[in-house]
């Protein structure tokens, strides 16, 4: 264990007996099962929800855990937050752990908001004095101060989760374990929660979280772990782990489920290519190179209307959605029978370093003929990048490099003089 490791997991395994959670409903059932066949003959009905999971988390790291449903993400969080014991292995945790596996755990509908703040806070591990001290802050954050003495059963679900999240947000552990809780309330409140999380993370706390929002993981995490069938497939830098996840998703859907048919009765995509500015096929681009997406398609009979649609995404987050009709007066220029080739050029210094996926579609404004995910993928790398241009670096928040330019002028001399725009 290195000096700054706050979580060390060694070969953690968790075995469940199949059907165990469903339990035998009555004693009679259990007895019947036990006596029906000798014990030795009963087939083994155990599954490993987690197996040989080992990793270390350093102090101040923000680790995202990703994986498909049933990969063992929640089981891992449950073990680390001591809700359930592992069947094998061991985890050593240094520091006070706060875990949020659910927002509003133990909320009691009959009690008022005020009473539930105390109840929920105590359940999450806060002392009464601590809750009293933070009470006003919690209520203010929740924005439901006027209903704080109303029983929670009369709350809307939005109010309920606002209050619950506010309590959770004021828990100040050294290590926070979070399962998918950022999606509460309306957009404005979500943003507030995210900001709260980020300031918590920036203040040097360690966070371990599961989220299905890969955008959130890409934005916030310093490293990630990919789980599949209870084992770690990849761990380390976020882009590296994300790639592994996409590969997994693609492999799972490779029998055509992922890529929709490229053929329709009226129209067919013949080819899709990624080219450099000079027309050479390529999959890897420098951050300053334009990326040319080229499609050939055939219109099989004269149509009234047709557009080609293009979506570029990184980490499942759509960055660009564009139509070949964008910017043209006549949206139906290319709908007569025949073969066409169309190109879309993404300028350099726009996409940040990372892996991109391209989705293509064809259709009319009210009818989609073709829709195919991930027909193309490409990489942007920081080859020409040097330390003087750190502004482009992938780790910075924000999804693309701003196409805008900065200009700054001096509008007044320094020392006591007021800026012109503010003068009376």
């Amino acid at each position: 264990m290195s000096d700054r490791s706050v979580i060390v997991a060694e070969n953690i395994g968790k075995q469940y007996r199949l059907g165990e959670t469903a339990s035998y409903d009555t004693l009679a059932d259990a007895l019947k099962r036990r006596f029906k066949r000798p014990v030795a003959e009963r087939p083994s009905r155990h599954i490993w929800a987690l197996r040989d999971v080992s990793f270390e988390v350093q102090e101040g790291e923000i680790v995202g855990i990703i994986g498909r449903n049933g990969a063992g993400k929640s089981t891992l969080l449950k073990i680390l937050s001591r809700v359930t014991a592992p069947t094998a292995g061991r985890a050593t945790i240094r520091g006070r752990v706060g875990s949020l596996l659910e927002v509003g755990t133990g909320f009691q509908p009959e009690l008022t908001g005020r009473e539930n703040v105390f109840l929920n806070g105590a359940i999450l591990g806060m002392s009464r004095a601590e809750i009293s001290r933070k009470f006003d802050e919690i209520v203010e954050f929740s924005e439901i101060a006027e209903f704080i003495d109303t029983p929670v059963k009369r709350y809307s679900s939005g109010m309920h989760s606002r209050l619950a999240f506010s309590v959770a947000a004021h828990l100040e552990p050294e290590i926070l374990i979070v399962d998918e809780v950022l999606s509460v309330g309306d957009i404005a409140f979500q943003r507030k929660c995210q900001q709260k999380m980020q300031s918590f993370m920036r203040s040097g706390h360690t966070v371990l979280f599961v989220s299905h929002s890969l955008g959130a993981i890409a934005e916030m995490c310093t490293s990630a772990i990919l789980l599949d069938h209870g084992t770690i497939l990849r761990a380390g830098a976020v882009p590296h782990v994300m790639e592994g996840y996409f590969a997994l998703l693609n492999a799972a859907g490779s029998s055509g489920a992922r890529t929709g048919p490229l053929v329709h009765a009226d129209c067919e995509i013949l080819s899709a290519e990624i080219l450099t500015e000079s027309g050479k096929p390529s999959r890897t681009f420098d951050i300053s190179d334009p990326v040319v997406l080229e499609f050939r398609y055939r219109v099989k009979r004269d149509l009234f209307s047709l557009h080609i649609e293009l979506t570029v995404s990184r980490n499942m987050l759509e960055l660009i959605r564009s139509y070949d009709t964008d910017g043209y007066k006549d949206p139906n220029r290319h709908c007569r029978a025949g073969d066409y080739v169309c190109r879309h050029v993404i300028p350099g210094h726009f996409l940040k370093a990372g892996s991109y996926a391209v989705k293509i579609g064809a259709g009319t404004p009210d009818y989609s003929m073709i829709e195919a995910d991930n027909v193309l993928t490409f990489e942007i790398e920081e080859i020409s990048e040097n330390t003087q241009h750190r502004g482009y670096r992938a780790a910075r928040p924000g999804h693309v490099i701003s196409p805008g330019k900065w200009t700054t002028e001096k509008v007044a001399e320094a020392s006591g003089q007021r800026v012109v725009g503010n003068a009376q």
């Binding site: 409903d25 009555t26 004693l27 009679a28 937050s81 014991a85 875990s99 009690l111 009473e115």
Partner: protein, 278 residues
């Protein structure tokens, strides 16, 4: 855990047998008191008469039995009026029965909670027991007032009644430890439990004196650890009733200690994985 520096948590599979960390219960008295307060608050929110309902229960039961067993069946009661005789012990039994069923079902009742947050599970049966202990104290005080008003003030040894109260509490929690594990697994445990409690109730000399039982059946009462507790409790509350047999009392105390100890070991063994079973 010995050999571990402070602030470090080691998470490992449950191995071997040990008793629960009772110091943890003390450290978690904050959470315990919140659970307790929640139980009481939820129970009496939206009931206009609040605490009145706690008190009503033993009084109503006493009134009903007085009519049927005292007035109609004329069961002998060591020279005391039937209501006084019954009221003197029924509060103890009601405490025992409630603690046992609440503690025994506490883990299953809180399954949503234990699936999402960690705290020593032993807090659940303990807080259930404490909540019924509060009811008992109210009922006991009211019961004493009522029998005093009826002309039977308790003797000085009434303080000793609390010993029998603590012993029945320990017995109920010990059994509750065993039951909560079984209840988490099998739904029919709770139905069986209410049936068993009914039979047990009538097999304990609460509504009648032990002298009313024919000599050849007395041995049955030796199997029931609640008998000396009820007799002792009554002896503390009322002047001029038979004291419990000291041998039987010692036997009962040993059984209770054994049940409590084994229950807590068993509960500790399963508490880390009980969430996978409820």
């Amino acid at each position: 855990m010995p050999g571990v520096e402070p602030g470090v948590t080691v998470i490992e599979p449950a191995r071997g047998f040990g008793t629960p960390d009772w110091t943890a219960v003390w450290r978690l008295r904050g959470l315990l008191s919140v659970f307790l307060w929640r139980d009481i608050a939820v129970r009496y929110k939206q009931t206009m008469l609040g605490v009145f309902w706690i008190v009503l229960q033993p009084l109503m039961v006493t009134a009903i039995y007085s009519v049927f067993f005292g007035y109609i069946a004329r069961i002998p009661t060591e020279g005391k009026p039937y209501p006084v005789y019954v009221l003197a012990t029924i509060v103890l039994w009601q405490f025992f029965a409630r603690t046992l069923s609440e503690a025994g079902t506490s883990v299953h009742a809180q399954q949503a909670l234990i699936g999402k947050v960690y705290f020593p599970r032993v807090v659940l049966p303990i807080s259930a027991a404490l909540s019924s202990a509060i009811d008992f104290l109210i009922n006991f005080a009211v019961g004493l007032l009522v029998i005093s008003a009826m002309g039977y003030p308790p003797p000085l040894r009434v303080a000793g009644a609390l010993l029998f109260f603590v012993a029945s509490g320990a017995f109920a929690i010990g059994l509750g430890f065993w039951l909560s594990a079984l209840d988490a697994l099998y739904r029919d445990v709770r139905y069986l439990l209410s049936f068993v409690l009914q039979v047990w109730y009538f097999a304990t000399p609460i509504l009648y004196p032990i002298a009313a039982i024919p000599e050849q059946w007395r041995w049955v009462f030796w199997l029931n650890p609640m008998v000396p507790l009820v007799l002792g409790f009554r002896w503390c509350v009322l002047e001029g009733v038979a004291p419990p047999d000291s041998l039987q009392l010692a036997l009962s105390a040993s059984v209770i200690a054994l049940v409590f100890y084994s229950g807590s070991v068993f509960f500790h063994r399963i508490e880390h994985s009980i969430v996978d079973r409820v």
